[in-house]
Amino acid sequence: MSKLKILLIIFPIVLISVLGFLFSFFVQEARAATVSVVSSNDDAYQDGYMGTMYLNTPEIRMIYYLTPDPDIDYEAGFRWVISIPKGSTINTAYARFYVYDVAYDNITSSRLKFQKTGNPPSFTSANNNITTSGRTKTTSYTTWSANPGTTGWLSTPSLVASLQEVVNSYDVTALVLLTTWSANSNSLELRVRSWDYSPTYAPQLVVDYTPPPVSPTVTTDTATVSLSATTNQATLKGTITATGGASVDLIRFVWGTSVGSYASSSGDISYTGTFQYVLTGMTPGTTYYYKAQAHNSAGWSDLASTNERRVVIYQASGGKKPFTATTATTTLTLNKNIAAAGTVISSTGGINCGLACLTQTSTPIASGTSVVLTPTAAPGYTFSSWAGCNSVTGNNCNVTMNVNKTVTATFSLNSRPYVSSAALSGSALCNVFPGGGQVGFGWVYNDDEGDSQSDYRLQISTNTTFSPLFVNYTISKVVASGQPESSAILVVPDPSSYSRCISGGDFEGRCVPYNNTYFWRVSVKAGTGNLNWSDPKPDPPTSFDAPSHAYPWTMFAPSPSKPAANQEVKFIQDGSDFITDLSLCYSGGEGLCQNKISTTYSWNFGNGNTSPYKGNATTTYSAAGNYNVTLTITDDVGSCTKTKAVTIGPSLPNWYEVPPF
């Protein structure tokens, strides 16, 4: 084969490859996405007559029409979270639904429209939330007629027109597709699976789009001056680093004689592949600062983010002597390992890298300048180290800018908090309230970096694996490091029926039933920095015993409330004047202690008299004074004692009867 033939074969291949490369370089890359409904409130349907919304059903009735009743029809809506920039070109768009019932499978002339907004809200249970006037639909729509015939995924026709109408006007962060029912159509029914049935079968949206072009980005290159130059000129140069998705049609250079000042311009120059401009008429010895710019259909490249160069020529005696152009300015790039971990500011160069900033490049800094970078850790983080500095003073980084430099600030997440001194803080099973007792827990919250507690979690189970949990109580409470914390639970016969234990009660979710041994543990969490839960303590978990039933409820009061000496005093239930003592015992079920055969009473009236009487006990005090009256009730789980001080007044005088008047 001759060299000519080989050349004829290779040349087209090379040419096609080069053109393909250039095409891909100039054309914005298309992006494809398939997203599913991801929450119960993102797929819904409504009764078209009453307007009732259905959000939590395993099916979505997109079309549901039962002849001849015209009132039963439905409309459906689907919401997907997806980002599409405004101005993008929609190449492909369709939705997919999992049809599960083919008994009624004719879909005729159903209309599909997107809600015309860039961030439509999820659906709510409020009636007519799909067809409410707040959900303005696109003018464009897709007519859908189909006969699925079998269960499985069913794709809609193209939704490009409706979606394009949305994207033309909005930056999209979410989309809502609405099915519009036509009462005159002959459609029967279309029911598909919802997210509530299974995330696997949740409705999907498939989109392929091309983002809109952006302006190109360029770098300014070092100018050249010919060694043989006889005129005061230099060739300014630039490089297109990204076209922005559209062809570059123009270039230009701007310049001035001080840093950041570009009063002069080359004017727009058609771009043919060469990015340079010959600057003539330069004043020898004057420094020219310049930048390159490029243009496409989205506009000019950002001048502020383009690096600056400088060029100067000198004129030696006897002729013009060029000098090599040098970099006039340098840039300093700061990197952080965690954006939210802290801030960094520079003494010069404009670096002010906040909590949302992961990297930042300075404005041009004159070569030879010393820059100091100061880090400040955010709450919950600690500054750790620098990399790339010339020296470090304290936490500050010192950089001498003779070339472009990059430094990295490393912050570290604070350690997790921990619990110390976790222990039972005692139990009160007597006289807390009828039928119930209380168990307390105490611990100390600690955080080495001083982060305050935001939450604690108390867990109680009948085993050390903590499954199942009787109590899984999380509460938000701010506590400083080193401070003690405590919590308590109630022990009651039946937590599900006791008002203090159920929703709205002051011990909601913090009750356990009697007749068990329980293990407990507590974890804490900081509100800043490391947000992970601490290891639970005590470790291993410790236990406490709840007796087989509640302890006796021992309460009484004297009657009359202010008895006198030599007057019979009756001790009755506290808080009322009923004639029966209402002390409660729980052995063998709740009941009056006095009626329990196994229950014993022991009264000590404080006047030297005692009584085992089960019920209202009476005594008489011979002299005025203060007396302590004690009642102990004992059943088969234990004893509860109550002591009350009783004040006996002076003896009442003797009165006599007189004739009525």
Partner: protein, 140 residues
């Protein structure tokens, strides 16, 4: 001998007393008896001592009254208690509310308490009394 002497003296006096003196003596005796009935008998108002109070139980058709000393922090309930002891009757009260006195148990009629003519609205064991108070318990 002495008895015979006195009898002889009285006979002698009556024999020599004029009709005028006899009339004056009879009137004086009647006035004295009237005063006794006025203060201590059914026609008179009983005297209440300086440190005493009175309690009247008005059953509707009949009444009973009691009088006695008042001590510090004495309540209407206490007064009823000491009156019951003096009058030998019993009563029931719940939370300071009078329910029954003797056979008179409240049903259609209620027991209401008045202190110096003003109806009380509180529990009887919370109302303190003082000297000269007049308590009336009315079944009405």
């Amino acid at each position: 001998m002495a008895l015979l002497f006195l009898t002889g003296m009285r006979f002698h006096l009556f024999k020599n007393m004029s009709k005028l003196y006899l009339t004056i003596l009879i009137i004086a005796i009647l006035v004295g008896m009237g005063l006794i009935f006025y203060f201590f008998g059914p026609l008179g108002k009983p005297k209440i001592g300086p440190n005493e109070a009175a309690l009247i139980i008005n059953y509707g058709e009949t009444k009973r009254a009691f009088v006695g000393e008042v001590i510090e922090e004495m309540t209407i309930s206490d007064a009823l208690l000491v009156s019951a002891k003096a009058g030998n009757f019993d009563f029931d009260a719940e939370q300071g509310i009078l329910k029954r006195i003797g056979q008179f148990e409240q049903n259609e009629k209620k027991w209401n308490a008045y202190l110096n003519g003003t109806k009380t609205g509180d529990s009887l064991d919370k109302i303190f009394i003082k000297a000269k108070d007049k308590i009336e318990l009315k079944f009405e």
